[in-house]
């Protein structure tokens, strides 16, 4: 039991950022959108011309560019904030989307860079109205394949990922609970401060990678 919690925890963090991505073809189904996105990000990471600390900025920029096409950061921000989203101004919303996207980049891209050797198997897809779920299995180091489900929403740009779920643990719900707890104590201004501090904490060791 503990093993799996740890495993799913680890993988939650490993692959959360993988939902970044998705070349947008209007008529393409969820899996057709997801596949090139994930592959595109992995390709950038594996590109020897972009490897190393000196190329970090360029590499991250390319990854996030692919990510922003298949990954709906605004939808994520909206859902992760819940009711607070309705209470804040348009400017604050834009600021929040920026901060949250930066957090995801900081938190997960570095991790992805360490685990670029994995293989993704697209197992199943389910569409229900404007929502879709794509089940993938991630194989790494010969371990038992890990199920990672991408939850997607059809918007003006086609299918975009807004959540992913590993063994019942939703990445969005995880952040939502954390934000809720911070909002209760420190209000929105406090949350922004915590986010800014967190992002700043990555600049040091992030550069070391």
């Amino acid at each position: 039991m503990k093993t799996s919690i740890r495993r799913s925890l680890l993988l939650l963090f490993l692959f959360s950022f993988l939902c970044a991505g998705g070349a947008v073809a209007t008529a393409a189904g969820p899996t057709e959108v997801l596949r090139p996105t994930l592959q595109g990000m992995i390709d950038v990471i594996r590109d020897p011309g972009l490897a190393g600390t000196e190329n970090k900025e360029e590499r991250r920029r390319k990854i996030m560019e692919i990510a922003s096409r298949g990954f709906d950061f605004t939808e994520m921000s909206k859902r992760v904030l819940g009711r607070t989203w309705q209470k804040i101004s348009q400017e604050e919303r834009e600021q929040f989307v920026r901060l949250f996207t930066k957090l995801l980049e900081n938190a997960y891209v570095g991790k992805l860079e360490e685990y670029s050797g994995q293989e993704i198997i697209y197992k199943d897809e389910r569409i229900k109205g404007k929502k879709a779920a794509v089940l993938t299995f991630v194989k790494h180091n010969g371990a038992a394949p890990l199920p990672v489900s991408y939850v997607m929403l059809k918007n003006g740009k086609g299918w975009q990922v807004y959540d992913l779920n590993i063994e019942g643990v939703s990445f969005l719900r995880n952040y939502r609970d954390q934000f809720k707890s911070i909002l209760r104590k420190k209000k929105y201004a406090g949350l922004v401060k915590v986010l800014e501090e967190k992002n700043a904490s990555f600049t040091g060791d992030g550069a070391a990678q």
Binding site: S4, K131, A133, A144, E167, G168, V169, S181, I182
Partner: protein, 279 residues
């Protein structure tokens, strides 16, 4: 490589034999019932039980409207002891950085990774009776068959459980069942959330399950000594950590409130495990 493990003499020899022969007999008797059919389906490719569950899982994700409605401030966990839990969370955090992590550094330096994997397999295999009891208590006879087949294969071909031949060669995936899940299966609610010192995240139901499982562990059958059990548990913890060294530090690194993050991961993970039972 295995020589390092021959000093498992902390377990007295006779009870071991008695225990293993009893258990293997039980396995052989019960295997005929359901496991043959199960293992043959499981053996088709690597698509083991985990993959078979995909259908219901995807539907569950789409039916989960928790983020669609405006009920986002609704609390879906019960944590009245949060202030105390947070103290224990801090305690465990210190325990991690001051004791576990340094211990792991030494442990990992001494033992190569494949040996640590073997230790993990052994510990896991040794606890098979707990999983068998709990699959049976939940009337999951196919899973019980798989647990027994795994135990039989890994204890023999896997050399006392040090190798996971059942998964590698036969494609029988591990089943994880504990008494907390059994209670959940029969409708017992999770109760309050607990962050226990040393043990970590839990809830009232799973804490009861943890203690019950500890008493049904074969270890207790051999050596009824708290220190030995505690040592065994510590080995399990350090070994697990050595195989997944980054997990806790990543959780801290990526979380704005690691306590809340851990609580959410634990509770949702356990809920999913128990939901699987409805299939």
């Amino acid at each position: 490589m295995l020589n390092k493990y021959n000093n498992c003499e902390f377990i007295a020899m006779d009870p071991v034999k008695r225990y293993f022969s009893c258990f293997i007999l039980l396995v052989v008797l019960l295997t005929a019932s359901g496991c043959a059919e199960k293992s043959s389906t499981a053996a088709i490719g690597e698509s083991s039980s985990t993959m078979e569950q995909s259908d219901d899982e995807l539907d569950m994700l789409l039916d989960d409207d928790f983020l669609d409605d405006e009920l986002l401030d609704e609390i879906d966990y019960y944590d009245p002891l949060e202030p105390i839990n947070r103290v224990f969370f801090e305690f465990n955090d210190k325990l991690y950085y001051w004791v576990l992590s340094p211990l792991n550094t030494v442990y990992s330096a001494v033992l190569p990774q494949d040996v640590r994997f073997s230790v993990g397999h052994f510990i896991n295999n040794f606890a098979a009776p707990i999983r068998l009891i709990n699959t049976l208590l939940q009337l999951k006879f196919n899973d019980a068959g798989a647990v027994m087949a795994r135990f039989a294969i890994n204890s023999t071909l896997g050399v006392y459980g040090f190798g996971d031949v059942a998964w590698r060669e036969f494609g029988i995936a591990p089943r994880e069942e504990d008494f907390g899940q059994t209670l959940g299966y029969w409708g017992v609610g999770e109760g309050i959330y607990l962050c226990l010192p040393v043990i970590g995240p839990s809830n009232l139901r799973d804490a009861v399950g943890f203690v019950t499982d500890a008493y049904s562990h074969p270890m207790v059958f051999f050596v009824d000594d708290f220190l030995v059990s505690a040592g065994y548990y510590s080995l399990d913890r350090v070994n697990l950590l050595s195989l997944n060294p980054d997990i806790y530090e990543d959780l801290k690194k990526y979380s704005l409130d690691p306590y809340v993050s851990m609580r959410q991961v634990y509770l949702d993970y356990r809920r999913k495990k128990i939901d699987d039972n409805d299939e």
